[in-house]
């Protein structure tokens, strides 16, 4: 069990920046255990390029990812396959507690579809809520320089608000397919954006440390890193922000009690392209991701393939 909470108060006197630097180095150098490959933590809490640095916002984000699994035939059993779609509509918000501290809340509604030879299931409901805080370490976005950059880092907690033990025909449905993980998980993330006039780069990384749920099931820790190039184009009252880049994710294998679960975890590298449109306080965005390289930890009797993913979002800044 974790004893970390008890120790936390003794560390509050340490210089904030030093601590954050340590955390970030860990994020980069640390054991990159892996992605969310399938399911509930779909895309983690990928921020993307966020609008209007100094403002609060509230928005809706709709995302979908598809996976295909194939089980080879045996002597007596024909091949089986499944097409699975993981979707969520998420209410999310950013609120500035102080000028340097931003709070984020994510409340997802999840609806997943499994269309398989052996199993056909549809499940929907509230997913796992996420609360985060980011601290602004660098921000010269209000300066007159042509070079502008911001660095934010922070962390949060994911709460077990989603159902995690849905059954089908007397058997628990694949854990990735559940509405939530049933566990309290901890996240850390850092976002760096640098812009020269109208062209910029955005780097984002995140790590999620999972704990065991009440069923004794432990999802593997997850790591993600993304980089994007973007352009800022203004046409009267409308601004366009096209962007393209790569997204990497990695997830460690799950454990049920002590038992390592086959066909869980893996890595994927996805190429991404998208467009955000700014009209007054409203931002509408779309982002498409396609796997370039992937390896999911399937055994030699099965194949798991990630298909394209997309996200659309609508944000109101105030």
């Amino acid at each position: 069990m974790c004893r970390a909470l008890l120790l936390s108060t003794t560390f509050t006197t340490i210089d904030m920046k030093k601590l954050l630097i340590v955390v970030m180095m860990m994020l980069i150098a640390g054991q990159a255990s892996a992605c969310d490959v399938c399911g509930c933590s779909l895309g983690g809490n990928y921020f993307g390029i966020l609008p209007f640095y100094g403002k609060n916002f509230v928005g809706l984000r709709w995302s979908q990812a598809q996976f295909h699994s194939y089980i080879y035939p045996t002597q007596n059993i024909p091949a089986q396959e499944s097409h699975d779609t993981y979707s969520k509509v998420e209410l999310w918000s950013r609120y500035h507690l102080t000028k340097k501290i931003q709070l984020f809340a994510f409340v997802p509604y999840v609806y997943n579809n499994m269309n398989g030879t052996d199993q056909v299931v549809h499940a929907q409901g509230l997913g796992d809520m996420n609360l985060m805080a980011n601290y602004s370490l660098i921000n010269n976005s209000e300066s007159n320089s042509d070079w502008k950059h911001t660095l934010m880092a922070g962390g949060g907690v994911k709460l077990p608000t989603g159902k995690f033990s849905l059954y089908d025909k007397g058997k628990i449905i694949n854990r990735n397919f559940q509405m939530g993980t049933g566990s309290v998980d901890f996240t850390a993330n850092a976002v760096y954006t640098i812009r020269y006039k109208k062209t910029g780069l955005n780097f984002e990384t995140g790590y999620k440390m999972n704990t065991r749920n009440n069923d004794g099931y432990l999802f593997g820790n997850q790591f993600r890193f993304s980089s994007q190039v973007f352009f800022w184009q203004q046409f009267g009252k409308i601004s366009l922000l096209p962007h393209a880049g790569t997204y990497y994710e990695n997830a460690a294998m799950h454990r049920d009690g002590d038992i390592i679960q086959v066909n869980t975890g893996g890595t994927a590298l996805l190429g991404s392209a998208g467009l955000d449109i700014y009209v007054g306080p409203i931002t509408v965005g779309v982002n498409y991701q396609k796997p370039v390289k992937q390896h999911y930890n399937s055994d030699d009797t099965a194949d798991i393939t990630s298909k394209a993913r997309w996200t659309t979002s609508l944000v109101y800044s105030f």
Binding site: S8, I101, G170, F186, D258
Partner: protein
């Protein structure tokens, strides 16, 4: 406020201590897959008792007096999980099928039958992994006049 903000970092900095795992024992799953052709509509129920697994050195692991009810209606019941077997390679399984009731397109009732099956490559039992032996119980064999033993076959073993 800063205090609150730091807590998640600290939690990540101090990783949790790992649960202790006994390296000398492991679990195994035996799956009872009742098969029949599409032209049949069947209700199938039976109890699996007296499961014994034999390791390649002759050691026998016994599930004791446990009785596992298997029902065609409940997929969860078709996977029998045994815990804490001494690690090693298991090459043979025997069990009793009791109170077998197959009803529907045809009827087959049997009070008690013993089944013995061998695994060509064995089932590797080890800590932190759960191998699975996938057995097929072919109802068409029963319909054709075969006995319970002849209706069972080992389809495959997942080492996992």
């Amino acid at each position: 406020m800063k205090k609150l903000f730091i807590i998640p970092f600290i939690l990540i900095l101090f990783s949790c201590s790992k649960d202790k795992v006994d390296p000398n024992v492991g679990p195994v799953t035996i799956e009872f897959d009742n098969t029949f052709t599409d032209d049949l509509k069947l209700t199938i129920d039976y109890n699996v008792t007296n499961i014994q697994l034999k390791r390649d050195d002759g050691t026998v692991f016994t599930d004791g007096l446990n009785s596992h009810h298997v029902s065609e209606a409940n997929e969860g019941s078709q996977e029998i999980s045994l815990k804490d077997l001494p690690a090693g390679n298991y090459v043979q399984v025997s069990f009793k099928i009791e109170e077998l009731h197959v009803t529907g397109s045809f009827e087959y009732i049997s009070a008690s039958s013993t089944v013995l099956l061998t695994f060509a490559d064995g089932i590797p039992v080890r800590a932190e992994h759960e191998p699975e032996a996938h057995l097929l119980f072919n109802m068409n064999t029963l319909k054709g006049g075969g006995d319970v033993q002849s209706a069972f076959v080992v389809d495959h073993v997942h080492d996992n």
